[in-house]
């Protein structure tokens, strides 16, 4: 692999170079993304002012784009933590240029995903009712509600992910603080916590990272399981399924990997990190993506086969609408981009490259968003009482907010990559380590 052969001082120079200054293209992109994100905020402000009625959600479809986006972004957040934690625990050497980029995705995707329950609330100013606090109305959250589980799961995951991103960042910001000036110097000094590079500090950091990797793995799996149980605990057609939790976890890792490959491709190109993010890294990630595609297909097939074989009328209504009814274009498009495209582009060795991995990843991101849409909307459109069936079409407010979150994600990532090295510098250690 190329990185091991690059002298340490050059690694440092190469990875610090993108932090200096901002090109015209960078500034323009950031302004454009911020403007789109701001438009989303305006749309949300409009919804708060006028009321939740400006969204397209109405009886019987009370969960629309907002919940689709929530599940999608929580899924994307699995990019960093799960992938980074698994690779750290298994001491996979090729993870080094990948982990920080992945961990940053987790934090930002969680921040964005965590916003959607608040947006969906409508009366967002009452969100604190979800927290147990003493009040005179004998009002306490119902700890047995899956929505309360979401609050605890996402809070824990966000806390853990921020710490998981921050810990390996400390040595890098400490080094940066020796060379920075002005506000950057102050920022890096605060974040470095007085790091000196002593062996005590390194030992503590490595132990903490190993422990955090184990803990965060368990939390990451639990978070998407809890998101799945938001649906599976309801006795609604095609939701009340025992495999929903692992199905969601697989889908989350799948979409997270796709998000990571896309982010790494952009970072590699714009920051000229070709020597660090090599075809070898993309090849490994592409193989993982292919594996997850097959797993996703297996779960999707198992889920649909069980429903079809059971032939329960209410479930079959939703099944029929998905597979051959009004949702079938979305369903088959999902199958094509989540399975056929990755299988062809990544399964045939001659076709596997950075470009095809990126194309497959974009397809998977679209496909996984569609998958969440297909889980939520058809079931709610066709509840058990056929007299209550209805349709859902998103309003401009929902579309604006959805688009804005993608822009916000990209903008946050751009800002992060300008403040901190997107590839961990200290992990390219020049001194060979002892075998345990």
């Amino acid at each position: 692999m190329a990185p091991a052969a690059i002298p340490y001082h050059q690694v440092r120079d190469d990875l610090w170079r993108p932090l200096a200054g901002a090109s015209k293209r960078y500034t323009l992109t950031l302004v454009l993304l911020s403007a789109i994100a701001l438009w989303g905020l305006i749309a949300w402000g409009y919804q708060i002012r006028v009321g939740i009625g400006v969204a397209g959600i109405r009886r019987p479809v009370f969960w629309g784009f907002y919940l689709v986006d929530f599940v999608f972004w929580i899924g994307i957040s699995h990019a960093g933590t799960l992938i980074s934690a698994i690779l750290r625990l298994t001491d996979a050497d090729w993870r080094k240029p990948v982990t920080r980029a992945a961990e940053a995705i987790t934090v930002f995707a969680l921040m964005i995903g965590g916003l959607f329950p608040l947006i969906h609330l409508g009366r967002v100013w009452l969100f604190y009712w979800l927290f147990p606090y003493p009040n005179s109305r004998l009002l306490w959250p119902n700890f047995r509600s899956p929505l309360m589980w979401d609050v605890t799961a996402i809070s824990t995951y966000l806390t853990g992910s921020v710490i998981f991103l921050y810990l390996p960042l400390i040595p890098d910001v400490a080094q940066l603080s020796e060379h920075a000036k002005g506000w950057r110097l102050r920022l890096y000094k605060v974040l470095a916590l007085g790091w000196t590079g002593s062996d005590r500090e390194w030992h503590a950091l490595e132990r903490a990272m190993k422990l955090m990797a184990g803990i965060i793995l368990a939390v990451a799996v639990s978070v998407h399981s809890v998101v799945a149980w938001d649906f599976a605990m309801a006795i609604a057609p095609m939701w009340h399924s025992t495999i929903f939790a692992p199905y969601f976890v697989v889908g989350a890792i799948f979409s997270g990997l796709a998000g990571l490959i896309l982010a790494l491709t952009i970072v590699r190109k714009t920051m000229r990190l070709e020597s660090y993010l090599t075809p070898h890294h993309f090849g490994n990630l592409a193989k993982l993506l292919l594996l997850m595609s097959l797993l996703w297909l297996y779960f999707t097939f198992a889920e649909h086969l069980t429903v079809w074989y059971g032939n329960e009328p209410k479930e079959m209504s939703v099944f029929g609408a998905r597979v051959r009814g009004r949702f079938s274009p979305e369903f088959w498009a999902m199958v094509v981009v989540n399975f056929v495209v990755p299988f062809v582009l990544l399964g045939i060795r001659r076709l596997r490259s950075i470009r095809t991995a990126t194309i497959a990843s974009i397809g998977v991101l679209v496909g996984m968003w569609l998958e969440r849409y297909l889980i939520i909307v058809p079931t709610l459109s066709m509840p058990r009482l056929s007299a209550a069936w209805g349709r859902y079409s998103p309003s401009w407010v929902e579309i604006s907010i959805t688009v804005a979150t993608f822009a916000a994600m990209a903008a946050l990532y751009l800002v992060f990559s300008k403040l901190f090295p997107i590839v961990s510098v200290w992990e390219f250690e020049p001194h060979a380590q002892e075998e345990e």
């Binding site: 002298p7 340490y8 001082h9 440092r12 147990p132 004998l138 009002l139 306490w140 119902n142 700890f143 047995r144 899956p146 309360m148 589980w149 605890t152 799961a153 809070s155 824990t156 806390t159 853990g160 710490i163 810990l167 040595p171 080094q175 916590l193 007085g194 790091w195 000196t196 590079g197 002593s198 062996d199 005590r200 500090e201 390194w202 030992h203 503590a204 950091l205 490595e206 132990r207 903490a208 422990l211 955090m212 803990i215 965060i216 368990a218 939390v219 639990s222 809890v226 149980w229 200290w426 992990e427 390219f428 250690e429 020049p430 001194h431 060979a432 380590q433 002892e434």
Partner: protein, 170 residues
């Protein structure tokens, strides 16, 4: 009064040799500190730093678990929900909340213990920290003035590029 001496090494092997020689002269891990821009690990028994982080993390998780179970139990009895004859407090439907809060305890304890064990935020400012060149390993030794020359010789014999006394902050 203690003094601090620092030797800079280009390779891990040279630093290891110096540590072994100093340990043979009676210096222990408490007197020796290695500084580097990246983690440098020596074989077991050379410069061990015992850790209780795992135990602390398990304890932190256990404490959070007990706290959250008590919290949910007492609040559900103090602020009773209408459950239609079902138990007011039931463990399994709240198990997810317990699990997540237990994990939160583990996460926060890991971070807190890392800060404690690494010595960050409680570093003695009067103890000098050597400047480390990229790719170099610096060994700092706490010693008495009478031993200064002996240690400097040991460091040079082991292959130190630079050996010097570190100025202590007042």
């Amino acid at each position: 009064m203690s003094l601090y001496l620092a030797g800079t090494f280009g390779t891990k092997e040279a630093a290891l040799q110096a540590i072994k020689e100093l340990k043979a002269s009676g210096y222990g891990p408490q007197d020796l500190t290695v500084f580097s821009d990246e983690p440098v690990e020596f074989p077991r028994g050379v410069l061990d730093r015992p850790s209780h982080m795992s135990l602390a993390v398990v304890s932190g998780a256990a404490v959070f678990f007990l706290l959250v179970v008590s919290f949910v139990y007492f609040t559900q009895y103090d602020y009773k929900l209408v459950t239609g004859g079902m138990p007011i407090f039931s463990f399994w439907p709240t198990a997810v909340v317990f699990f997540e809060m237990t994990m939160l305890g583990a996460i926060l304890t890991t971070f807190g213990w890392f800060i404690w064990e690494s010595g960050l935020l409680r570093r003695d400012k009067s103890v000098p920290v050597p400047a480390v060149e990229p790719e170099a390993i610096c060994l700092r030794i706490r010693c008495v003035p009478e031993q200064l020359e002996t240690i400097a010789a040991a460091l040079e014999n082991a292959g130190a590029r630079n050996v010097g006394k570190l100025a202590q902050a007042l």
